[in-house]
Amino acid sequence: MKTQITNILLVGVGGQGILLASEILAEAAMLSGFDVKKSEIHGMSQRGGSVVSHVRYGKEVFSPIVPEGEGDILFGFELMETYRSLSLLKPSGAVVANDLQISPPSILMGNDIYPLGLAESIKARFPDFLLVDGQKMAEEAGNVRAANTVLLGAVSRRLDIEEQYWMQALEKMVPARALAINQKAFLEGRSL
């Protein structure tokens, strides 16, 4: 499968805002002149289940789903979900993940424990691994809810889309009242 397609996977927990982040990403890619496709399953996304969103862009994109083992970037909103989706990445792929743990039911009930050492074990396999304290940086930018945007900024550094298109996409997709904080959060992330 020789293609010039860039494959990005956004993973996390339902309700974390993964769909919005993937929409900003897709919009920026389109503004930049690429063909773009995006896919995820969102039937139960508000009920706290695992969510995986696929975004692909390039000259011409066919499948909206990233073939297993061909992801260029894994954009993780939660640590365990990031780890769970590593197999989607190519061996030289990059991981940008939020340093956040959300416990699933079995852990909340005390029947399982949250796996230890996930970050170290991701780092061991994928040298291009950036762990971001999105919550803290977003709080500094003005609102903890902009954590996704900090992460998106960090991801943007690894993509061939110019800054102006990211800013245009943010302007279109983020509600006006939250725009200034999100722009700040994005640039903070982009400078990492």
């Binding site: 896919s39 399953i41 039937g43 695992s50 499948s63 297993e68 039911p105």
Partner: protein
């Protein structure tokens, strides 16, 4: 002008550009967002119907009145709407009528994965199948045109990957010059009594033959000749996977999957050495191609179950040596092991939680139904014993009481949501009362169709267009149906909930219990209001884990590193519903001061 749209958004746009006047649906994943987007176009009258049959009938009426109509539903919704569909095939249309069937191969959010292409063949109506969002829009426009040209309803089939994927769509202006809708009388065409229907049926058969012949020159049925050693007939999402995995292969992309363009298929077959069909679920195209006497490979290498993906297409062709197995990274095997799963769960503050906890405690036999409350099946609530289809819980509860002992009859409880009850549960309750089945029905009225993402229904008091309207009075409705024992409960009051459910279970006659707390996701002002969050007083918590038995995502067990573990309540997630406090025997849970 171009935009990134989902398949569903693009269908709504296509309807707008087609001059569609009426859009009607019952929500169902993955179809729901179509009507949530037609409301953005003021020229379309968009509405939720109580079920798919009514939705189609509303569309038929609009069509007979001369307006273009869009009706949408998930695959299993077509089962409900099948009755009008099969005869609509005979009457044909006046204004164009497009029926969207959003199928769900892989059952991402469904109870079965039926292949609704079979319905097009069964009902003898044409079916189009788009491969991306641009085609969703273009095919919707074409479907309206074909509907009027051939005097037939047209089905547009999507799958989850088409409805919920997004891609770039070029927008156009809406068509103009369509005839103004008005009442017209044409009984011979529209009154389907035997005498009239006998005249219509041959026209239906002729229509399919003509569509098949015309299909050979339709632009949406497209032959792309590349390497002639392999030719692949495909459609929908599978077309994209084929292009991704076998970019050199020749393809016959079918935009119309029923009726098949036989002449074009023969021509394509004659130009390639080896013929394949790549399709999800049933061998729908394959069997017809085989019946044409052509040698073709399909389900020998593809599963009858689940959706296809680029990986699955790749694996199928590598089985017969056409693609080479890509070396997978060793990561796949090591990663997935030992990770705790993350299933969906009822939200913190969900009014269903206390009811299912109680049903579990009472060891009820729970006849279940379709909605968020189906999650009551999962541990730790584990309080659902059956779930078949929309509205089935009450009929099944009646049925089971007919074959078990009077002592066991006391265990039978049907649970059903407000929207599902109005969808098709109400008929079950009529039967339960009519035939006096001694079961208990709990209507979980959370004032919204929650599972599909908060849609209004006839019991919420608002329409899809957000206009205030009549709100069905459940107690009065049940009374009118003849239910003598009607009880209202606060599902956050566990003592009351347990007492009332126990009393009604023991009663050897039909009874209905109605819960009256709203879904936490309802955003309309004044419907859901969170209370002050709860907290655990650490000194009082003895680590008995009683509060964990309700599986609330806001409550976390914190192991005590050698000391005794304790419960913790996340103040950001807690809505203050108070259910956990009532489970604590040590008074360790209280409102945050």
């Amino acid at each position: 002008m171009k935009e990134i749209l989902s398949g569903n958004e693009a269908i709504a746009r296509g309807a707008f550009e087609s001059g569609c006047r009426v859009a009607c649906a019952y929500p169902g994943t993955p179809s729901t967002e179509i009507l949530e987007n037609t409301i953005n176009y003021k020229s379309i009258n968009s509405s939720w119907a109580p079920n798919e049959k009514v939705a189609l009938e509303v569309g038929i009426g609009a069509s007979f009145g001369g307006g273009r109509a869009l009706v949408t539903m998930k695959h299993v919704g077509i089962n409900v709407a099948a009755d009008p569909l099969f005869t609509l095939s005979y009457t044909g249309v006046n204004g164009g009528l497009v029926l969207v069937s959003a199928d769900d191969p892989e059952m991402h959010s469904s109870q079965n994965e039926q292949d609704n292409r079979n319905y097009a063949k069964f009902a003898k109506v044409p079916m189009l199948e788009p491969s991306d969002s641009q085609e969703c829009k273009d095919f919707t426009r074409l479907a309206f045109e074909l509907s009027e040209k051939y005097d037939t309803p047209v089905m547009l089939r999507t799958t989850t990957r088409i409805s919920h994927s997004k891609s770039i769509v070029h927008l156009d202006e809406p068509v103009t010059g369509l005839p103004e809708p008005k009442l017209t009388k044409n009984a011979a065409k529209l009154v389907m009594l035997p005498g009239n229907a006998k005249v219509r049926h041959p026209l239906v058969e002729e229509r399919i033959v003509k569509l098949s012949a015309d299909g050979a020159t339709m632009a949406i049925n497209r032959m792309e000749l590349r390497d002639s050693s392999i030719g692949i007939i495909t459609s929908g999402a599978c077309f994209q996977y084929v292009r991704e995995v076998l970019p050199e292969a020749s393809t016959l992309k079918l935009g119309m999957v029923h009726p098949l363009p036989h002449a074009l298929i023969r021509e394509f077959a004659s130009k390639v050495e080896r013929l394949f069909v790549v399709e999800e679920l049933d061998p729908f195209i394959e069997e017809q191609v085989k019946a044409m006497g052509l040698a073709v490979t399909g389900k020998e290498i593809f599963s009858l179950c689940g959706e296809l993906t680029p990986d699955r297409v790749h694996k199928a062709f590598s089985k017969i040596g056409i693609t080479t197995s890509a070396p997978k990274t060793a990561i796949a095997e090591t990663v997935s092991a030992k990770m705790p799963p993350r299933p969906p769960n009822m939200c913190p503050g969900c009014p269903h939680r206390g009811v299912f906890y109680t049903l579990n405690q009472l060891k009820a036999y729970v006849s279940g139904d379709i909605g968020c409350y189906t999650l009551g099946f999962l541990p730790p609530l584990s309080a659902m014993d059956t779930c078949v289809c929309m509205g089935a819980s009450i009929g099944m509860a009646t049925g089971v009481t007919k074959v078990i002992s009077p002592e066991e009859q006391k265990k039978v409880v049907a649970v059903i949501g407000d929207s599902t009850f109005l969808h098709t549960g109400i008929n079950g309750l009529m039967d339960m009362v009519y035939n006096q089945a001694p079961a208990t029905v709990i209507i979980l009225d959370n004032r919204i169709t929650a599972m599909t993402g908060r849609q209004d229904n006839p019991a919420t008091g608002f329409t899809l267009m957000d206009n205030p309207t009549n709100r069905i009075d459940f107690p009065l409705l049940c009374k009118a149906l003849g239910v003598k024992n009607i009880r209202l409960i606060d599902p956050f009051d566990l003592e009351q909930t347990r007492r009332v459910i126990q009393e009604e279970m023991n009663r050897p006659e039909p009874s209905v219990i109605i819960t009256d707390k709203p879904c936490v996701l309802v955003k309309r002002d004044g419907v859901f209001q969170p209370d002050i969050a709860l907290e655990v007083t650490e000194d009082k918590c003895v680590g008995c884990r009683a509060c964990l038995k309700i599986g609330c995502p806001a409550i976390e067990w914190r192991p005590g590193d050698g000391n005794k573990g304790k419960a913790f309540i996340d103040p950001l997630l807690c809505t203050g519903c108070d259910v956990c406090r009532q489970l604590c025997k040590f008074d360790a849970i209280g409102r945050i001061k």
